[in-house]
Amino acid sequence: MSQWSAAPAPFARRLLTVLGIDELGVYRVLRVADVETPEPRPGQFAMLATAERWGGGEDERPYLPRAFSIARRRIGESHFLLEDVGPGTRRLCELREGDGLWALGPLGRGFQPPRPRHRAILVGGGVGIAPLAILQDALEAEAATDVTVLLGFRDGARAQGAALLHGARVATDDGSVGHHGLLTELLSQELYRDSRAEVYACGPAPMLEAVRAMCATRDVPAQLALEAGMACGFGACYGCAVPKRGGGYLRVCVDGPVIDARELDCVSEHAGAPS
């Protein structure tokens, strides 16, 4: 099966074993043994929870599993990029080799391949760079597409995350690494240079909205990987709603997380990655 088509997820959460956890600036890369999982499509995610001590943190949380992009596949392994922003991510960051991890997935609709003769511009902000790593792997495996990577971070410690992808141009809010300023300034330069491109973006909501607006003005197709608070990840709870163009809501977990930017009037404040 091609890397752009997804097989259904197993119909139960599975207990996986942690192989290790690596530091990447303020981020952690969690590596788990995962032999049986169907090959994910770039942009798909999994719902994760630790096998032990999931609960009993601050305010007795976490209780529900948490959504994470599948950042990379290696033979028999899945990798996740984590940022500690609360009790769930903190507990996952504490995992050690040999620990158990509950995983449900791969879930959701992933990225679509670029149109013929369009280059791919990958635009990632903060921990939102995760799904772009597996996307870069997939695009480069096909070798037919020219890939440009633009990554933005708040500060130097976060900018170390850029090492998850290769060949990235980096922007930081504080100017400590790369371009001092907004990621969308880099995107604007790229589109000015050559606008026959397909943009793939994941990151905080204000960044996604700026990317959406810029691509809409210049008539450039954009695929946005959205986020939302999720209880289930498979369409059961209707908790992950974001407003869609023309009224009503999309469920990020089953209609996304990757959404064609034209399906949105704007990216709502709750639909982005932690910033």
Binding site: P8, A9, L104, C232, R251
Partner: protein, 300 residues
């Protein structure tokens, strides 16, 4: 001994079903493919609440994680009765188990119109009434007022011969009295508990504190409500003679067994399905094992 259960004339393979609004079989087929039908976890499938007119649901955020539970303000999004019949029914009819359609109106007339439409559909095996809804004229929750409830159930009873289950609200002064009113109105069964009214304030420090949930308040579910559910199920089962569907915080077969021992005929799993979609099957298998070990509990 067989694991099967007779419930309102339906022969079910085991006593575990889903709570309305906690499992979307159509979306699950997209996520899990043919395994959904092969390993279908529930002995009957309860639809989410259907209303006469389509509803988009509440603005985000819709979820708040509470200690051992979840507060939701989803707002009953659905395609409306016509959309349900035209788009969803054929797909739900393919499931390997009987279909229970859950409906909600804001007046007795709306309820009986919904029930009458379901009565015409052979795909629908039974109808559940979600009465956790304010009466538009009086502002009172229909299900919290025994008199109103008996009237609504009576109107629905006149519109169908299919089994009628009344899903009681736990946010009432006297839940057993409401259950008795549902029975008097002609219900074939009652189900409980629905979510408990709850609220969370936005976490940001300083400034004006606003409710976190887009809908203002929401409903609490999950392990946090299990003990409340057990008490209400026991009190209702002691009061009525019709079967009771017990739910609230079931995570394991031992929790389901508690509800059955308290008088429930069937048990529904809700929030725990979000953590593992196979929970229903696991709970049913656990109940089967309990029966085999001879720790017999009352059969229906």
């Amino acid at each position: 001994m067989s694991h099967g259960v007779e419930f309102c004339g339906l022969s079910l393979a085991h006593p575990v079903i889903n709570g309305s609004g906690t499992f979307d079989a159509i979306a699950a087929r997209r996520a899990f493919g043919p395994a959904l039908e092969r390993d279908f976890p529930f002995a009957a499938y309860v639809s989410k609440t259907i209303t006469l007119a389509a509803r988009a649901g509440n603005p985000a955020p819709r979820l708040w994680e509470a200690p051992g539970g979840l507060i939701n303000s989803i707002g009953l999004p659905n395609n409306g009765l016509d959309g349900y019949i035209a788009e969803d029914l054929a797909q739900l009819a393919e499931l390997p188990v009987p279909l229970i359609t859950n409906v909600m109106g804001s007046t007795a007339e709306e309820f009986s119109a919904l029930v009458g439409a379901c009565d015409q559909r052979p795909e629908i095996a039974a109808i559940e009434l979600n009465v956790s809804c304010p009466n538009v004229k009086t502002g009172l929750d229909i299900g919290a007022d025994p008199q109103q409830l008996a009237q609504v159930v009576g109107a629905c009873r006149a519109s169908t011969r299919k089994p009628l289950i009344v899903k009681l609200t736990p946010n009432a002064a006297n839940v057993p009295a409401c259950a008795a009113a549902a029975q008097d109105g002609g219900a074939d069964a009652v189900s409980l508990i629905n979510t408990l009214r709850a609220m969370a304030l936005s976490p940001q420090e300083g400034g004006e504190r606003r409710p976190w949930l887009g809908g203002g308040t929401g409903g609490l579910s999950g392990p946090a409500i299990r003990a409340v559910a057990l008490a209400q199920v026991a009190a209702v089962a002691a009061r009525v003679s019709i079967p009771v569907v017990g739910m609230g915080g079931v995570q394991r077969s031992s929790h389901a067994r508690d509800l059955i021992d308290a008088g429930a005929t069937l048990v529904a799993v809700g929030t725990e399905t979000f953590r593992d979609p196979a929970t229903g099957a696991r709970v049913a298998a656990g109940l089967r094992a309990l029966r085999r070990t001879g720790e017999g509990f009352p059969t229906a």
